[in-house]
């Protein structure tokens, strides 16, 4: 949250226009107006234009034909005359009404050449603005963070039948929570794809992208699948049960309500007004890319790191242990960038693996190098800790006692030392998954993986404050979840910890 305050208050907000084509094309007053509209869009300020004010005023008086009214035309033209504009009644009304509400009224004089012709983008404007405080913006952000769809979401008065109920889902064969009046038709549904249970019901809004994905919601950006359309044989809702199948990539689980007119063709294909479709794609979304690489890397790191750490501890000070120690020193001290490039160089030249993600012909192969680059450092740190815990336990009294009792070394290792040493390792599992995701900031950039980590670095280069805030919130919430999960896991596997209060002091 602090970061958000800093981002909102400290960054010069003009930087968001550096790569903006529209801003570059416009000039003079029009550019200023464009800046204000964008600022308003991203919540920096409230902004009212005199033209909108006039429009509202005259629609109230004359209805839809207001634009032909001579008074309206006269009032509109008034602000183009810098010497006399203050004499106009509507202008005075505009200034008075907004200044009394605490707005700052700005008059942009029309810019003309000496011969009286208006410069490009130089028409005069009269506007009222009011800055929004950082805390208000923060409040707005938090207020809109989670939205739950309700049956009142659709504003269409023609829709009378509003409900949320469990129905049989014709596309997966399971049951699904179906809504009418909600934005999405299928609120909760199951299918054969990871993570099997899908939610359209609850929507997390991370904010809006400023420059990179101009105005798109960031949650959509990171969830949007990439790649080619994935066409399958499907049936449209109205045709379910008939024998009319069609090759199409429409994802019927993601249907949303159509607020406009439904076309004649859609009326034959759909039973209701949920006709806005999205398409299935073959590629993974940004979030999925990051998670796939991060999860596989964590799994491999544990599968390799723990046995190696145990082996090192059992063969302490022998050649294998020394090699392991050198590996750990290399991985922990050398800048991660250096060895990631080393792996990249080895992988591309010796094994002919694809280097940049986008250029890969076989997509699966492109996952190999990033995963290895993430696995190896985590394996190193796991090895180090496992070895440390094992050696600590080996020197403790209860191990000496067990040995004196005549237990075999194998028994001592598997039943006593390993069981104690594994507890802190288990505590770290969620944090390690998180570390893989954060570590992916570097890896994803090196291999140009379209993932969340790369999104952050791209946003920094593109001055996209919206994405930076969103990524910060995303990673921070993940790390809090990881910590809580770690504590829960620890409580489950460590018999000494429990959340129930015990007797005694």
């Amino acid at each position: 949250m602090t970061v958000m305050l800093l981002v909102y208050s400290l960054i010069d907000r003009k930087v968001i226009f550096q790569t903006d084509d529209v801003w570059n094309k416009r000039s003079n007053n029009e550019r200023i107006i464009y800046e204000y509209t964008q600022y308003q869009k991203y919540g920096y300020l409230e902004f009212y234009n005199y033209a909108t004010f006039l429009q509202q005023k005259y629609v109230g008086l004359y209805g839809d034909s207001y634009s032909k009214n001579p008074d309206f035309i006269k009032d509109m033209a008034a602000i183009q005359k810098p010497k006399t504009y203050l004499e106009n009644e509507s202008v005075q009304e505009f200034i008075n009404s907004y200044e009394s509400k605490g707005y700052n009224v700005v008059y942009l004089e029309p810019l003309t050449y000496t011969n009286g012709r208006v410069k490009p983008g130089g028409t005069g404007y009269l506007i009222a603005t009011r800055e929004r405080s950082v805390f208000l913006r923060l409040w707005d952000y938090l207020k809109g963070f989670i939205t739950i769809e309700t049956v009142k979401d659709v504003k269409d008065p023609g829709l009378t039948d509003r409900y949320i109920r469990i129905e049989k889902d014709p596309y997966s064969g399971f049951f699904a929570l179906v809504g009418s009046g909600t934005t999405h038709k299928y609120l909760v549904y199951f299918d054969g794809h990871f993570p099997f249970m899908h939610w359209n019901w609850i929507h997390i809004n991370l904010g809006v992208s400023y420059t990179k994905y101009r105005g798109q919601e960031i949650t959509d950006v990171i969830n949007q699948p990439t790649g080619d359309l994935d066409a399958k044989l499907v049936q449209y809702p109205a045709l379910v049960g008939t024998d009319q199948w069609e090759e199409s990539a429409v994802d019927f689980h993601k249907l949303t309500y159509n607020n406009g007119e439904v076309s004649e063709m859609d009326k034959e294909l759909f039973n209701d007004k949920y006709t806005v479709v999205t398409y299935r794609r073959k590629g993974l979304s940004m979030l999925e890319n990051s998670f796939v690489i991060g999860l596989i890397a964590t799994i491999f790191a544990y599968l390799l790191g723990i046995p190696l750490g145990v082996l090192n501890a059992r063969n302490k000070d022998k050649l294998g242990d020394k090699l392991g120690m050198w590996y750990i020193i290399f991985i922990t001290s050398v800048p991660s960038l250096a060895y990631i490039f080393l792996f990249a160089a080895i992988g591309t030249t010796l094994f002919k693996l694809p280097y940049a993600f986008a250029n890969a012909e076989v997509k699966i192969l492109a996952y190999i190098l990033p995963t290895i680059s993430l696995t190896l450092p985590h394996m190193g740190s796991l090895m180090m800790w496992m070895r440390r815990y094992m050696i600590d336990q080996m020197n403790s009294d209860y191990v000496k006692f067990a040995r004196a009792e005549g237990m075999s070394e194998g028994e001592i290792f598997s039943q006593h030392i390993a069981r104690n040493a594994i507890i802190p390792i288990i505590h770290g599992i969620p944090a390690n998954i998180l570390a893989c995701l954060v570590g992916a900031i570097i890896t994803e950039r090196v291999y140009a993986v379209p993932g969340v980590g790369n999104l952050l670095t791209n946003a920094i280069n593109g001055h996209d404050n919206g994405i930076i805030v969103a990524c910060t919130v995303f990673y921070t919430s993940l790390s809090i979840i990881a910590l809580i999960l770690g504590d829960l896991l620890m409580a489950k596997y460590d018999p000494r910890i429990s959340f129930e209060t015990k007797g005694g002091r």
């Binding site: 602090t2 970061v3 800093l6 981002v7 400290l10 960054i11 020193i329 290399f330 922990t332 001290s333 050398v334 800048p335 991660s336 960038l337 250096a338 490039f341 080393l342 160089a345 591309t348 030249t349 280097y355 998180l434 954060v438 900031i441 570097i442 950039r445 090196v446 952050l456 670095t457 920094i460 280069n461 930076i468 990524c471 910060t472 990673y475 921070t476 790390s479 809090i480 910590l483």
Partner: protein, 315 residues
Amino acid sequence: MSAKEKNLFTFIDHDTIESEKIIAPRYSYWRSVFRVFFKKKSNWVLLGLFLLLILGAFIIPMFAPYDPNENVTRAQYFHKSPAEAIRTFGFSFKWLLGTGGFGNSISYGIWSSAKTSLLLAVICAAINMVVGTIMGAIWGYSKRFDQVMLVIYNIIANVPYILVITVLVYIIGSGFWSFVFALTVTGWLSIAYFFRTQVMIIRDREYSLASRCLGSPITRVISKNIMPFQTSVIVTILARELPSYISMEVFLSYIGVGLGAQVPSLGRMIQEAQTAFLIYPWEFWPPVAVAAAITIILYVLGQNLADATDPRTHM
């Protein structure tokens, strides 16, 4: 005992002053530390390499000022491999490693950059260590302070460190001192937290309790009872922190929020060369190698020094 036997012995009076003296060789803590440290042959080699690096980083730039823009207008000098560069310019130390993407000398560049990296690491480490240990000592000692600090720590430590620094540098802009600020503004907190735990362990030892019961003031308890125990802890943290600042600089420059265009740095050199690191390897690997060498040497030296500062190894 006969009289003759009695004459064989002479009686010595009991001397109370003499009996208080300790005959064992004097134990000096720091002498023992260095004795243990230099007993290891590999430490001599590493220390030699480290001195060479320091001399290189601080003396070579004096005689060979690095100017990244000297050939920026002469496109024919861009991306020269070492062999080509020597053919073009004649054999000299300056062109030994070829030229970069703007005709800049790689071999001069890595030394100027190494200087920046080392300075950055030392300054950040100094600030973080001083603030971290002082705050950690108070934090570990005072229970009321502990409650407040734990809340602050939990809030800040939950955000991944890499993210905090990235966003901070982005917000306050690039440059050497803003970079130092970003690395130190929250960096001391984890050191202080680690230190707090160590102080707490010693604080509740019996001798420390006894000292307090006898009426030693807090400052004395901290400086005489607790701090001497922490030398090896401090050196261990230092060994971990110093290389991490260099890595952090490399990483941040790589993603484009580093020290800025004016300051030569290893991260910047890597960032400039990384797009074509397979085509122009001589531009990419030297700064990587220097960064790796500095961090490995610092890390291993620090670890060994930390081992030597532990009094248990002095036997």
